[in-house]
Every structure is written in structure tokens, then in C-alpha cells.
Amino acid sequence: MAYLSTRNFIEDKDFVDKWLYTMRTGELDLSWMKAATEKVKPHEANPRRGLTYRDLDIGSYGFTDIPEKVRSNRSYAPRGAEVPEGAPDAQPWVSRKSEVWAFNTESYYEEAVTRQWNVTTDIPWERLDGVEMPETIGKALSQLMTFLTEVEMIATDTPAMWLPRLSPDFIEVKAFIASQAMDEARHTEAFRKRALTTGWGLMKASPMNEMALKHLRDADSFSEMSVALHLVGEGNVLTLFRFSEYLSPTDVDKRIFRLVMQDEARHVGYGMQHFKYVLEHFPEKREVLHAHLDEAENISFAGAAATELTESFIILAGGGLKKENIDEGIKVTTRFQLKQMEEHFERLEKCGMPERKERSKLYQMFEMGKAAAEMAGIKLN
């Protein structure tokens, strides 16, 4: 696996001699001063926002002018710099812009950096002191947190795995992916910390969800990974966070879900904008993405059938284990599951894939579920 530099610099007499000569004589080469690069003068378009990546979208340095196929730079040289002879190949797998780009990528990254929060101090943990939840609620909450802890780490592994595979010219995408990995690490931390403050600790793993979610990590292309992770996986989780915030048993839990939701919405936003971009700029990819969605939507089925998640959700939604609680919990959970599916298809439609409904087994399930819910008097909206 190891790479060996084309030169061993300790043994490279010319290199060492030139260095020592420069230090001894002060005769500078200064050829870098004449680098064949563009001179630009960016400014802050909005001083309150500061100097953003968008302000640097100028000429050869900008992201607008990145070509669809990046051929000129395969090294670690920053975009727009002069690439000298002898620079190594960074071995990027992804050098096609439409494979990774999203409208507004740079803004998603800037937002991520300014909205970093800290689980340790931004959650009022001290307010849990003296809070005693009924056993049923405490255990259900712990089980939900266990599931969320479990799944958030796959969402760090997946973007992290792709980051070094992207051409260094896609700086803004790499930066966004790095921010996403950090967001997901923070979510894992939040859910783990909450589970371990309930008094019940962590609960049981969710094998069926894990088996389905492994699919996220092992996609053949970035676009396929993105549609599965950002649109299917995180889209589902975003709806889950919204409902979880609604049925949170304490203010502390509400605060956690509000904060994770803003991060998750950003990831889904990137996913949607990328999906739109790839469909517009790489139309041949449409069928590939359909095929990938056929498999990725399996995740939604697995989620619905993973009883350790559904049951804890029902208990939290209904407020306990009595029959009336369970009945109410089932109503809320039904609404949640249908909403998850409805929002998934709404997103795909907004991104330019309205025909997905005709092909999807999940959509058939949604229509059947919706009809059954309406017969049972459960309204979706």
C-alpha cells in the first residue's frame, strides 16, 4: 500500500546543496513569483457574512468554471495554482463535476461552519437532575437513542470514505463532506450521552436496520452514495427527528432534536441539490440512480419492520403501555411512517424525478398504507 516519493530528499545531493546555498548566500530563485496564475481581488459581498467561498468564485479560482471533467490537475495543488512538473498523482476516483457537485455547495459548507454547536455545553444537561421518567418512557427513550447512536456512525464512515477519493479541485465539496462527518460525530455523541443519562443506559441493537444501512457505505459511485445517504437515509431520519422532537419527554430532548435537525436538514439540502445537479448535467445517470433507489428504498422497509425501533416510538408517542396509550401511539407512528414516505417522494419529484412513483415498490406501499390509515380514521396532514 505504501507510496514511495520519486526522490529521497536526504540522499538528493542537488536538493540539499541548493537549500544550503540559498541559506548561505541569500540568492533566491524567486521563479515562483512569476507563476502563471491569475491575479484577482475578491471582496466581501456582504460584510456581515464575512468573506465566503462564493466571494472567491472568480476566474480560474472559482467553482463556476470547474470543467465537467477535471483533467488538468490530479495533484494536491490548490485549484488555480500553477502545477509544476513532478507533482504526484493524488489518485482521485471522482474527477467529474456532476458526480459530486450541488447547487449552493459552498453555502451549505459556510452554514455548517457557522452553525457548529457543542453537545457538551449547548444541551442543558443539568436540567435532567431530579427528572424521573416512568420506566416505560425511560426505556423507550433509551431504545430510540440506542438506535440513533447506532445509525449515526454509518453517516460518519460513509462521507469520510469518499472524501479522499474526490479530486482536490472540488475543494468546496470536500469541505462540506468534512463538515458532515463532524456533524454526524456530534449526533452520535448527543444520542449516546442522552441514552447514558436516562438511568437505563443503552438498550438493544437493531440488526435489520444495520443490515439495510450497510448498503449506504458500499455504493459504486458518489452520486449513488449520495442519493442513498442524503436523500433516503437522512431524509428518513430528518422526519424521524421532527416527530421525535414532538414526542420528546423532556425539554432537554426537545433541544437535542432541534439542534440535530438543523444539521440534518443541511445534509438533505445538499443531497437534493446534488441530485438535481446530476440529473441536469449527467442525464445518462438517471437510470443508474433509479436502480440504486430500488435497493436503497429497502432501507425504509427495514426501518418500518425493525420492531425495537417501532415499538419504542409507539410507546413514546402514546405515553405508555396501556391500551389507550398504544392505540394513540400507533396513530402517531402511522402518520410518521406515511409522512416519511410522502416526503421522500416529494423530494425526488422536486429534484426532477417525478416518475419514481411509478416504479417504486415503496410508493405502492405508501398508497396502500395511506388508504388503510384513512379507513382507520388516521389523517396524514
Binding site: Y3, F9, T22, P78, E150, M211, H215, R217, A305
Partner: protein, 372 residues
């Protein structure tokens, strides 16, 4: 596609039946009496909040992670109950000594607490009010071009390893994700600084990139960590300190201030990881010495590349006049000696005794002369 779930759940009657049973109100509650430890963690210091250290308790704590993690290859959160058929995630870093550092939880907590945003936390417009001379600005453009290359390699390194590290090392993986964001942010800061000054970017550095690629593609995590976290991190820390001391503008001073705190964490982890590794794997001390024998020529590639050396001399001396170049050379030679001194000090403090005597680098550094 590389992985398909073990079932097409849409076609599996038992799965659908299980879902239907639950939604009919027949709950299995198989999870209700999970065989896990019951704890109620609390912040030990309310001013600090609830830290990972506060949750280092029993089966959930990082202190209890064994050296060999053999029983967990899935996504299961450390301390929760495993059951059923779980996927194998293919983790290849499963030994604690391969990855751990005693300060990792502290570094993660510190990282989050010290967040900053290049867009708004650097006083960019000060460069409009106090523009630099053309030579110094060009030197800054070259320096920041070079720094972006270092930042990009430093960003790729943890990213490549995160998905290979066992999920049981949660705090460790979280720290690596924090490193990813740190380097994305530094890369952003360096790029913005180079372009805002008006001189554009300059020339990438083939020699440094060659060496850095060798460091980055180390075969094992401990080797890569010595190279990228400890050696490159230490180099960057010293460089940022030096540029802060000779900063030609408030913008450079502010930016380097943030870079110092981020690179110091990186270096601290690198030192801690090497120390932990050598302490728990004394049999590998010689192999690590040999790895460093082979690869530390990269340190020379960094220090001796004209794309760094020359702008550093100009910035340190304040310009291109003869006296300025001389002052710049004196300052730069001190910087070079400091970088290598600290490099050996760290390696030896971590447990690689006699490293500076064994290395060929001091013999070259001793030949640096700046005549009066």
C-alpha cells in the same frame, strides 16, 4: 454495487408480518429488558457540561475497551446489547494500541469548544486598509499556496482511516471527524487569505507533495499518524507560530492564531498516539524507528523546498532588500532548527529513544550557515 442487504424486505412475508403485528398493537417488547448496564451519567463540573470523560463508566467507558476488539465488527454502539444477525463492516483497525491516545476524549471536547469560522473570525478588510508591499504579498500568496497543499493532505488522512476504525472507538472516530473539519477550515482560511491579498495563488510544490504523499500513504495507522499527526502537525505548528511572530498584517496574525490552536491539537494527538502505541507494543519500537528512517526525508522536502523557504525568508525579513533577506535568513534558520529540535524531542518523549542520534537530518541541519 458492493453490498446488498441480506433480504429484499419488500418480498419477505415474515418482515411484513412483524411490522403488521406491531402496528396492530401486538408489541413484542423484546428489547424492553435489554441485558445492559443501567447508569445515569451526570456532568462532574456544570461549567464544563457533560463530557465524554463523565461517561467513562463501566461497560460504556473507553477505559474498559480491551486491547483486542474481537466481538464487535458492526455498527452496534459500545455497551448496547448485540443480538441477531449483524453486518460485518470490514474494520481493519481493531487494536486499541493502533489508534488510541490517552488524551483523545479531551482533544475532541476541546476541538468543539474552540470552533471558529474563517469567513467571519478573521478581520479580512484590514488588508484593504493596510495593504502589504507587492513582494511581501507575493510571498504570502506563495506561503498560503504551500499551506493549502499541507492542509489538503492532512484532511485526506483522517478521512481515509475513519471508515476503517472499529466503531467501539467512538471517541477516537469522533476526534478524527473533528480533525477533518479542522483541516477543511484551515484549508479554507489559507485559500481565502491567499486570494484576498490580490496576488492570486502561486506555484504548488512538487517536492513537498511527493514527500507528503509518501507520509499519507503509510501502510499502518500508527505509521501514518507519526507522519501526518506528529511530524506534519508539529511542522505546521512551528510554521504557524513563526508566521504569527513575523505576521505582516493583522489578518495573518489572526489566522495563524487559529491555526496554532488547531495544529497544536493535531500534534498533541500524534504524540499521545505514538506514546500509547510504543508503551503497549514495545516489540514494535525498532520497526517504527526503521519506518521513520525510511520516510523522514519528507521533513527535508518540507523545510528545503524553495516554495516554502523563499517566501518564509521574505516574510521573516520584511522584504527583498539585502538586509531584509539577511534578517529573514537568520530567522528562517532558527525556525528550521526549532522545527527539527521539537520533532526529535517529541519522538523521544514518546518513547523512541536516541532518535536524534540515529537520524541523518541533524547532520544536514548542522551544515546550514548564515554568514555575518
Amino acid at each position: 454495487m458492493a453490498f446488498y442487504a441480506d433480504k429484499d424486505y419488500t418480498q419477505d412475508e415474515t418482515v411484513l408480518e412483524a411490522a403488521n403485528q406491531v402496528m396492530a398493537g401486538n408489541l413484542s417488547l423484546h428489547w424492553y429488558d435489554a441485558n445492559t448496564e443501567k447508569i445515569k451519567g451526570k456532568p462532574s463540573d456544570l461549567r464544563r457540561g457533560l463530557t465524554y470523560q463523565d461517561l467513562d463508566i463501566g461497560s460504556y467507558g473507553y477505559s474498559a475497551i480491551p486491547e483486542h476488539v474481537r466481538t464487535s465488527q458492526s455498527m452496534v454502539a459500545r455497551g448496547s446489547e448485540k443480538w441477531g444477525k449483524l453486518p460485518d463492516m470490514g474494520y481493519v483497525v481493531n487494536r486499541k494500541s493502533d489508534i488510541w491516545s490517552d488524551n483523545v476524549a479531551d482533544l475532541y471536547e476541546e476541538d468543539k469548544a474552540r470552533r471558529w469560522a474563517p469567513a467571519v473570525d478573521v478581520p479580512w478588510s484590514d488588508l484593504d486598509a493596510h495593504p502589504l508591499t507587492a513582494e511581501v504579498e507575493a510571498a504570502c500568496a506563495q506561503l498560503y499556496t504551500f499551506l493549502q497543499e499541507c492542509a489538503l493532505i492532512s484532511l485526506d488522512f483522517p478521512s481515509r482511516w475513519v471508515p476503517l476504525v472499529n466503531q467501539d472507538f467512538i471517541e477516537q472516530k469522533s476526534w478524527m471527524c473533528a480533525q477533518m473539519l479542522d483541516w477543511a477550515r484551515l484549508n479554507e482560511g489559507f485559500r481565502k487569505r491567499a486570494l484576498y491579498g490580490g496576488a492570486g495563488l502561486k506555484r504548488a510544490c512538487a517536492t513537498a507533495e511527493q514527500g507528503l504523499k509518501e507520509w499519507s500513504y503509510a501502510e499502518t495507522f500508527p505509521q501514518g499518524s507519526v507522519s501526518i499527526n506528529l511530524s506534519l502537525g508539529g511542522f505546521m505548528l512551528a510554521l504557524c507560530r513563526h508566521v504569527a511572530a513575523f505576521a505582516p498584517s493583522k489578518v495573518d496574525h489572526a489566522l495563524m492564531g487559529y491555526a496554532i490552536q488547531d495544529t497544536a491539537r493535531q500534534t498533541s494527538y500524534g504524540l499521545g498516539q505514538l506514546r500509547y502505541f510504543l508503551k503497549h507494543r514495545p516489540g514494535e519500537i525498532e520497526a517504527m524507528q526503521e519506518y521513520i528512517d525510511e520516510t523522514e526525508h519528507t521533513m527535508l522536502a518540507l523545510l528545503g523546498s524553495p516554495e516554502l523557504l523563499e517566501p518564509l525568508i521574505i516574510i521573516s525579513g520584511g522584504g527583498l532588500e539585502k538586509d531584509q533577506i539577511r534578517a529573514g535568513r537568520i530567522a528562517t534558520s532558527k525556525f528550521i532548527r526549532l522545527v527539527t529540535h521539537e520533532y526529535f524531542e517529541r519522538l523521544e518523549a514518546a518513547g523512541l529513544e536516541g532518535r536524534s542520534k540515529r537520524s541523518r537530518i541533524p547532520g544536514i541541519i548542522d551544515r546550514i550557515e548564515v554568514p555575518a
